[in-house]
Point group: C2
Chain length 247, copies 2
Amino acid sequence: MAAVTDAKTNVAATAPARGRRSASFLNPGLILDAAMAIIERDGPDGLTFRRLGISLKADHTAVLRHFGSKDDLLIALAGRLMDVALEGFAPEGEWRETLLSLARRVRSAALAHPGVAVLVSARSARRPSVLGAADAAIGALRQAGLSVQDAALYYQVLADTAMAAAAYEAATLNLDSDARDGDELAWRREYLAAPPQRYPHLASAAPHLADIDNEREFEALMGLLLDAVEVRAQRARDADANGHDGR
Amino acid sequence: MAAVTDAKTNVAATAPARGRRSASFLNPGLILDAAMAIIERDGPDGLTFRRLGISLKADHTAVLRHFGSKDDLLIALAGRLMDVALEGFAPEGEWRETLLSLARRVRSAALAHPGVAVLVSARSARRPSVLGAADAAIGALRQAGLSVQDAALYYQVLADTAMAAAAYEAATLNLDSDARDGDELAWRREYLAAPPQRYPHLASAAPHLADIDNEREFEALMGLLLDAVEVRAQRARDADANGHDGR
DNA sequence: CGGCGTTGGCTACGGCGTTGACATTGCTGT
DNA sequence: ACAGCAATGTCAACGCCGTAGCCAACGCCG
């Protein structure tokens, strides 16, 4: 039809109908920014190439020139999230503060971008910032008095637990916003309604369960872990002091 | 082509071409079984109504008569996974064993069905079996000597941490199987290649990081948490013994 | 035995990720 | 200066996906 051709030639008159518009006006940083904005606005399921294209005023397939697949895009988002989390981090004086600070940073980043966090959890980003954080964390554990082996093990535990807890919390945040079928609130109400003769402990604890918020829970988790690490470090130091071989 | 009409009439001759085939040959249990089988075979992304239909020898839209949406199906899967995890559970004599057993059950179920676990994580299933487990866990913490408030708090921490850790591990398992772009293995190799002058602690710990397997990490996590809980319970009991008010 | 709710089949719609062909741009070496 | 070429954006199309609407067969209840 003429209309179609008209539209085509019309565009061609004002700007190139095909071929690139200018020297690479799309670039990975721009795309990642747009993607994060879309996720924050529409949730994790709202991120599609087509919407990305609209937001960037480009064809949706143009994004594929910079990220080979949606998976690549998600991996890049994971990297950006980690960079945001660790931006400006430097080890504190006290080993415990260093580790707490790292854990809180991971959680904060996940809560600030819950949609991103849930998309990329367990997608360990290979980045310099992460290497620096790992080095600082292991250094802190060594400073506490742990052996290299123990420092390695507990670093892994602490890092993975912080990531897992942050992703878990982010996942519930996403649910609350886009599928408010009372997945969490009704849950706690159900605890309160538990038959006391059948679930006596649960019934007596239910009122206290109701007023645990996520932050307090996270702090309690990290407190428990760091306390236990401290105890083991103390034991290791004691053993080290009693003659130069342990035991 | 005659073949198409032939096929139709052929089916009509042997069995009804339309309308239901027999009294409700589809039911939720059957559908859930098929869904779990598909996820285990094809991974979490392999679960679609169409494949479910093929596997059940039914039209894919027939499943919607039993589960109003895919979300409903996932929630039902979450419930089934929790039931599998807690099947046959009974509290042990020792409080620590009770809590460890619950955590290991959650992890085992998640690893046995990683695709399901990652689909439904943070989708807390409202089920009797979960209520029973919660009651047993809180009872164990009370038995250890904690106050009701502390038992509630630490129950929440332990339960959520076990679920989060299990889901996290399941997520990495799924990645390893369907996107073997070396997300985990290359990661550890990168640790080994870290420049020692820039990341001294990391470099010295890298060889030990390499031989931490997932199970050891999970056991270390639970060991740390339970140790810390034990210390706090001990403190609470001591305080209780010194005059009947704490402090 | 006649209506009617339940359940399954079919068609269709809009949206998704991804591919392949094509056009335009800007850099390259000579 | 200019041919060649890689990079980058556009377009059309493919095969999936979830789900809505309508129709047909079955079992049940009056």
